[in-house]
C-alpha cells in the first residue's frame, strides 16, 4: 500500500485503466482528493482511457456483442492455406504431424530459401531431398514418382542409389521455384497419407523392402516421420526458430523403433540399461541380456533421436552414465552409426 505523493503518482496510470490491486484502489482516491497536481494528471489519463474505451453514441458500446460464433472463426481459420494433420492410423501419425510441422515452417522461409541448412543443402534442396526420400516408400505403395526418373543401374547398392536419387531430384528441383518444390513434396506426402497402408494397421504390418531395409510398412512410415521432423528441425536451426519436439506419443514411437533397430546391432555387446527420460520415457536392456548389467545410460528422448539421426555425436550427446563408461560408449556409437538420414 502506498500513501506518499510519489508512490501514488506511479499508480495513476494503473488507476486510470482500472488495474489497481485491492488496497491500492483505496489509497489513490484518498490522495487525489487532497492533491491538485495528481488530480489533474489523473483526469488527463482518465480522459485518454475514456477515448480508448470508445466514443459516446458512435456504434456499439464497449464490451457489447463480443460473443460471436466460435464455429465461424474456427472454420474460417481451418480453411486457411495450411491443412491440419491428416487423420491416419497411429503408425502414420508421426509422419502426418511432421508433414504439418514442415508446412508450418514454410511461410517463415519466404525469401530465405538459399539459406544453408545441412550437408551442402540449402532450404530448397532440403525439401527436394524429402521428395526423394519419401518417394521410395511412395512408389512401393503405388504412388507415382513426381520428378523425372533417374538412370540408376540395377545392382547399385541401396545407399548409393539413395544418394544418386537425392542428387538428381535436388538438381531437378533447383530448376523450379521453392513454391513448386514445396507443392510437389506436399502433394506426395498427402498421397502417402491417404494410402490404405497409412490408415490400416493390419495392411501396414506387412513387410516391405525400401532402400535395402526390410521392415513392416508401419515402420517405414515411422522412419518417414522421423526424417521429416529431423530435416524440419535442421531448417528451423538455420532460421533461428526452435522447432518443438514431436508430441510425446509420437516421440515414443520414434524412440521405440530406433531401439528396436539398434538392438540387433548390439548383439553380444556388454548389456547396458538404456533409460529414456520424460513423458515419452521408457527403458530397455541392450546387448547380451544373459550377462549382468554393466552400465546404465540415461538420455533425453529428443537427444536420443538426434543421436540416431546423426545430429548429435556420441561425444557431445547429453547423457548420464553410471557403471562401465566403455559399454555405454559402445551403445552411443552404434546408435550414431545407424545413420538413417
Amino acid at each position: 500500500m502506498t500513501n506518499d505523493h510519489d508512490g501514488v503518482r506511479e499508480l495513476l496510470a494503473a488507476w486510470a485503466v482500472g488495474a489497481l490491486p485491492p488496497g491500492d484502489d483505496r489509497t489513490v482516491p484518498l490522495h487525489l482528493a487532497a492533491c491538485e497536481a495528481c488530480a489533474a494528471e489523473a483526469e488527463r489519463l482518465r480522459d485518454t482511457v475514456r477515448l480508448l474505451d470508445g466514443a459516446r453514441g458512435a456504434g456499439a458500446p464497449a464490451g457489447a456483442a463480443v460473443a460471436g460464433s466460435a464455429d465461424g472463426v474456427l472454420a474460417s481459420a481451418l480453411r486457411a492455406r495450411r491443412p491440419r494433420a491428416a487423420a491416419v492410423a497411429p503408425h502414420a501419425a508421426p509422419y502426418a504431424a511432421a508433414v504439418a510441422g514442415l508446412q508450418a515452417l514454410v511461410p517463415e522461409l519466404d525469401g530465405r530459401w538459399g539459406l544453408p541448412v545441412v550437408h551442402d543443402w540449402d532450404a530448397h534442396a532440403t525439401v527436394a531431398h524429402l521428395i526423394a526420400a519419401d518417394e521410395h516408400l511412395a512408389v512401393r505403395l503405388g504412388v507415382d514418382a513426381r520428378p523425372p526418373a533417374s538412370n540408376i543401374p540395377a545392382g547399385t547398392p541401396a545407399g548409393d542409389a539413395w544418394d544418386r536419387r537425392t542428387a538428381d531430384v535436388i538438381a531437378h528441383e533447383h530448376t523450379r521455384t521453392p513454391g513448386e518444390t514445396v507443392a510437389t513434396w506436399a502433394a506426395q506426402a498427402a498421397e502417402l497419407l491417404i494410402t490404405p497402408e497409412a490408415r490400416d494397421a493390419e495392411l501396414a504390418a506387412r513387410p516391405a523392402t525400401v532402400m535395402g531395409l526390410r521392415l513392416p510398412v508401419a515402420d517405414h512410415f515411422v522412419i518417414r516421420g522421423f526424417e521429416a521432423w529431423i530435416h524440419t528441425d535442421d531448417i528451423g536451426r538455420a532460421l533461428g526458430l526452435p522447432v518443438p519436439p514431436p508430441a510425446d506419443e509420437h516421440l515414443r514411437t520414434l524412440v521405440r523403433l530406433a531401439v528396436r533397430i539398434l538392438g540387433p546391432a548390439l548383439h553380444g555387446a556388454p548389456p547396458v540399461l538404456v533409460d529414456i527420460t520424460g513423458p515419452a520415457g521408457t527403458h530397455w536392456v541392450l546387448g547380451d541380456e544373459s550377462e549382468p548389467l554393466t552400465a546404465e545410460l540415461t538420455l533425453d528422448p529428443v537427444d536420443f533421436c538426434l543421436l540416431v539421426g546423426g545430429r548429435h555425436t556420441p561425444d557431445e550427446v547429453p547423457r548420464i552414465v553410471t557403471g562401465d563408461e566403455r559399454a555405454a560408449r559402445t551403445v552411443l556409437e552404434r546408435a550414431a552409426s545407424l545413420a538413417w538420414l
Binding site: A19, A62, A65, V66, A77, V243, P245
Partner: protein, 198 residues
C-alpha cells in the same frame, strides 16, 4: 484465466500442438482467448461484424503461421491481443479510406482541425479514439504488452508483472509511460505514417 507461473509451459505446449497441425489446439486457444480477441476488436472497431472478421483473421493467422508466435518473447495472450488490436486498427483505417466522406480521410483521422462547421461531437470523439488506438499500436512492444494486459485483459499491474516476468515497479512505469505517450499523441498528432503489419 488467471496468469500463473505455469503459463509459459502451457503456451509452449499449445504452440507445439499448433505447429504439428493439431486442430484441437486451435479450439483450446479460441476457448481461452477468443473472448479477449473480440473484446479488443470491438473496442477499436465499434462493430461486432468487424470484430468477427478480425477474430477470424487472428485465429487464421495463428493456425497458418504458428511460428509468428514465439513463446520466448511473451505470452500467447498478449500476442493474440496485440495482433487483434493491430488488425482492428487496420480495419478501421481501411474503412475510413473507403468511405466517400471527406471528413474520414487520413487528414481528419490525424486530428487536423477542419475549418468548416465541425462534425458532431460523437464523430470527433470517434476520430480521436482511432488516433489513440493508432498511437497505441505503435508503442514499443514492452509498453504495449503492459497496456494489453492491464487494459484489455483486465489484469492488475501486479498480475501483468508476473505474466511478463518483470518487476512490479517496471510494470507500473511502463504503463505510465505508455498512457502519457497516448495522452500526448492527442495533443500532438503524429505524421500519418501507415500502421506497420504485425
Amino acid at each position: 484465466m488467471e496468469p500463473t507461473l505455469e503459463q509459459p509451459s502451457i503456451d509452449v505446449e499449445l504452440h507445439r500442438r499448433l505447429v504439428y497441425g493439431d486442430e484441437s489446439a486451435l479450439r483450446e486457444a479460441y476457448a481461452a482467448y477468443g473472448g479477449l480477441v473480440r473484446r479488443v476488436a470491438v473496442r477499436v472497431t465499434r462493430s461486432p461484424a468487424a470484430a468477427e472478421d478480425v477474430a477470424q483473421e487472428v485465429f487464421a493467422q495463428l493456425w497458418s503461421r504458428p511460428y509468428g508466435f514465439d513463446a520466448r518473447r511473451g505470452s500467447l495472450r498478449t500476442w493474440l491481443s496485440m495482433l487483434a488490436h493491430r488488425r482492428a486498427v487496420d480495419w478501421v483505417r481501411g474503412e475510413a479510406r473507403h468511405r466517400k466522406d471527406p471528413r474520414a480521410d487520413d487528414t481528419v483521422l490525424h486530428g487536423i482541425p477542419d475549418p468548416r462547421p465541425g462534425p458532431d461531437e460523437a464523430v470527433v470523439d470517434r476520430e480521436r479514439s482511432l488516433l489513440l488506438h493508432t498511437a497505441l499500436a505503435e508503442l514499443p512492444r514492452p509498453q504495449r504488452e503492459v497496456v494489453h494486459l492491464a487494459y484489455f485483459a483486465g489484469r492488475t499491474y501486479r498480475q501483468a508483472a508476473v505474466e511478463l516476468g518483470i518487476p512490479e515497479g517496471t510494470a507500473k512505469t511502463r504503463l505510465r509511460s505508455a498512457l502519457r505517450k497516448l495522452a500526448e499523441s492527442l495533443a500532438d498528432p503524429p505524421d500519418p505514417a501507415p500502421v506497420r503489419g504485425a
